[in-house]
């Protein structure tokens, strides 16, 4: 945990620094405060009280997205005991969604929580991307164009939910990998995502985001005592398309309850308008980000730069 926190702070520093540079150079540019998400967009309401941890959603996602064969079959529940670097399972380039188990003291049964991209209304990954690799579609999905991605990993740092990961199998072409709301194969044709369709418990309810908020409120109101009175994602980070209901306070089931209510990069939204300018100063930024990103690469880059200087001299 410590490790990621420090990485987060580190990143924030990096973003703020970069933003300052960009703003300085971009006084004339128009602010891009007109992007407020799509009110008609779709979403998914995840009800933790319904999820039984069957992993059908994980299996369906794996097949739908053509992801590699897992190390253990999806019927293997020992994955719930896995701890990686002190943490429960996370999404990665081989799994766009994972289900984790939480033992909550006040309940006589465990709770399960499915993780995937939350498809933010005002995505930090999108606003932070210098080359505009990300798109928020009117249907609600946050998708990406891996062809324009330069592998700078800013989005990975910017995302409040630690979702984007990279596929490094090709050293020259790192690719963002994350849940795309099944946009290509389903959402754009009005169909529900594969994970939603697979869920036996209807723990995942697909629908118009605004309708889902009504449903969430109704569930909370109609079954007093069953839920905490909060829909996670209705307001968090400016609203997310995937939202959650829980019977226990959200911090007990792995949610970050300290994320801001405003979009993560609200203050530096000008990023959107800055993109063309950023492109012109991009080589410098790119180097800057890599310097920040990993020490190893930092050293390597410096060596390279030294080499180049020597060559030039």
């Amino acid at each position: 945990m410590k490790k990621t926190v420090s990485r987060r702070n580190f990143l924030k520093g990096g973003l703020a620094g970069t933003a300052a540079v960009a703003v300085l150079k971009n006084k004339e540019s128009q602010a891009a405060h007109d992007f407020e998400g799509y009110p008609e967009g779709m979403g998914v309401l995840v009800d933790l009280t319904r999820c039984v941890g069957c992993r059908s959603c994980e299996a369906a996602c794996n097949k739908e997205q053509g992801l590699p064969e897992p190390a253990k079959p999806f019927t293997d529940y020992s994955v719930f005991d896995e701890i990686h670097h002190g943490q429960k399972r996370r999404t990665d380039e081989t799994a766009y969604t994972v289900v984790n188990q939480y033992d909550v003291p006040e309940l006589d049964h465990p709770l399960f929580r499915k993780i995937q991209c939350n498809h933010c209304q005002e995505p930090a990954c999108l606003t932070s991307c210098f080359v505009n690799a990300y798109t928020k579609t009117p249907e609600g999905a946050v998708i990406y164009n891996s062809k324009v991605c330069v592998g700078c990993r800013t989005c990975m740092i910017a995302c409040p939910f630690y979702i984007p990961t990279f596929k490094y199998s090709s050293a020259f072409n790192p690719r963002i990998m994350k849940c795309i709301f099944c946009y290509d194969t389903r959402l754009k044709d009005g169909k529900p995502p594969a994970c939603v369709e697979a869920c036996p418990q209807e723990a995942l309810t697909f629908g118009k985001r605004t309708d889902l908020i009504d449903m969430g409120r109704q569930r909370i109101r109609n079954t007093p005592g069953k839920y905490v009175d909060h829909i996670y994602g209705e307001k968090e980070v400016g609203g997310t398309a995937w939202m959650y209901l829980s019977s226990v306070s959200f911090d007990k089931v792995g949610f970050d309850t300290h994320v801001p209510k405003e979009p993560i990069l609200n203050s530096v939204k000008d990023f959107l308008a800055m993109v063309p300018m950023v492109l012109t100063i991009w080589p410098g930024l790119f180097v800057g980000f890599h310097l920040l990103a990993t020490r190893k690469e930092n050293i390597k880059k410096q060596e390279q730069e030294n080499d180049e200087k020597e060559e030039q001299a």
Partner: protein
């Protein structure tokens, strides 16, 4: 008793199984009119159909527990009770008659925009089966494992990659046990 137990075990499958086919036009409903057993197969793809031992469940619980207001008894579901305490029996009592098998189809989602708020959150057929059955089984100690009620089909085995034999050395989960 052996067979009954066996039937019971396969019976609870709710999930990817199907429509309850009850005899049409049962006008006076009491347990004696109910079918002995019901094959739930309309949604069966990843799992084999469920042989639901209806007679056994009639002994265990009341009609309303599953059929809500449609059998004319006292309504137990509070949401249904808002309007249907005096609705009487319905012509058709099968689950699939009210619970959409294509719950998230675009067309169906459109209908949810209608203002009769109480129905906006009606589970689809698969959800209705599982929520009702698993919910009750959790409370009463009935079987709750997926394959306790319905065994997997070949398609299911493929989806869940059941052929994989886990060896700690293999795969991306480096910390495996």
């Amino acid at each position: 008793m052996q067979t009954r137990k066996k039937i019971l075990r396969t019976a609870l499958a709710l999930a990817i199984g199907g429509v309850l086919t009850t005899p049409a036009q049962v006008w006076t409903m009491d347990a004696d009119d109910a079918p002995e057993s019901v094959t739930i197969d309309s949604l069966a793809t990843l799992y084999v159909p469920v042989e639901f031992d209806h007679a056994l469940h009639v002994e265990i619980t009341s009609c309303e527990q599953c059929h809500h207001h449609t059998t004319g008894g006292e309504v137990t579901d509070k949401n249904c009770a808002r309007c249907h305490t005096t609705s009487g029996e319905a012509d058709v009592v099968s689950c699939g008659e009210c619970h959409e098998s294509d719950r998230f189809h675009e067309k169906y989602l459109k209908t949810l925009e209608a203002p009769e708020l109480y129905h906006i959150d009606k589970p689809g057929l698969k959800g209705a089966y599982h929520l009702n059955c698993v919910g009750c089984h959790q409370e009463t100690g009935g079987p709750t494992g997926c394959q306790d009620c319905h065994t997997m089909t070949e398609a299911g085995e493929k989806l869940f990659d059941t052929h994989i034999k886990h060896s700690p050395a293999k795969g991306h989960s480096a910390t495996g046990h």
